[in-house]
Symmetry: C2
DNA sequence: AATTAATATGAGAATCATTGTCAAGAAAAA
DNA sequence: TTTTTCTTGACAATGATTCTCATATTAATT
């Protein structure tokens, strides 16, 4: 976590930006949470500690975190964005229950390998991918 | 194509709705196009033929087409929606060039099978999925 | 055909997430 | 300290999409 802040700071410095108290608070709040958090939710949590903070600053900072490679943006078709920690962990995909909204992360190297081979066949060089599998979780199937 | 209109009409009738000239024009325009068309683009094309048509009607009709199972909504993170023909064809995924925006469709049964097995392992019953592979196409890599 | 009930339409307002603007504040550089 | 640069918060603006509503159209009923 401390390391994350350091990485963020390095990124900022390298771009002539500063690690302000607002940015640090937002970043810490983000890292404290388990993934898939919405900007709105970050904003709410941050406001409990620093009520004066603006949502523009929250949006701006989340964008910086994404640019620094520490956060990655996900859109699950809910009409708003979510961010999840990135950079250290493996790339992973999502299993989403369409009834209760539960999100499970998974990784599968064989799927990734197949994606690359399909891409190669079409002359593409893969830089990223997004796989969302929708369905009903055990509970919601009753 | 005529068949599509008939299916659409059936869907509408079964829901106490009517196939108006506007709806038919929008549906025909949609089917004439190759997939991944934005609502905006449909609206533009439709207006050439019927300048009086409103964008609200276009949005409403695209939604009906999706509900009828003839169109399926895709969001590629561009900030707006696209629709593609659905219902008859196999499910397919997308290979997207992050530089020129080119979109290639592909299908891969092995990937789908792996998805199902991962889902099963987590107690999920898969109803749908979305796979987008991002990268650079041959041209854009130069 | 006339009347009544239901559904559609277009125009524009409203919404919602996100981004831009700008004056005022804080930090770093000179 | 003065100047330059970067930040911030408040709020306006944006852009896609949806809602509202008065009017029009179609279907159902008399």
């Amino acid at each position: 976590m401390q390391e994350m802040i350091t990485i963020f700071q390095d990124y900022l410095q390298q771009n002539g930006l500063r690690l302000t108290s607002q940015r640090e608070l937002i970043a810490r709040t983000f890292f404290q949470n388990r993934g898939h958090i919405s900007t709105e939710e970050i904003y709410r949590q941050v406001r409990k500690i620093a009520p004066g903070i603006g949502f523009a600053t929250t949006y701006r900072t989340m964008k910086l975190l994404a640019e620094s490679g520490l956060a990655s943006l996900r859109r699950f078709g809910e009409g708003f964005s979510r961010y999840e920690p990135a950079g250290t962990a493996e790339h992973h995909d999502h299993l989403i229950c369409t009834k209760c909204g539960k999100i499970i992360e998974f990784e599968n190297d064989r799927i990734e390998a197949l994606q690359k081979s399909v891409a190669r066949r079409h002359g593409f060089h893969v830089t990223d991918h997004k796989l969302e599998v929708y369905g009903l979780c055990r509970k919601c199937r009753q």
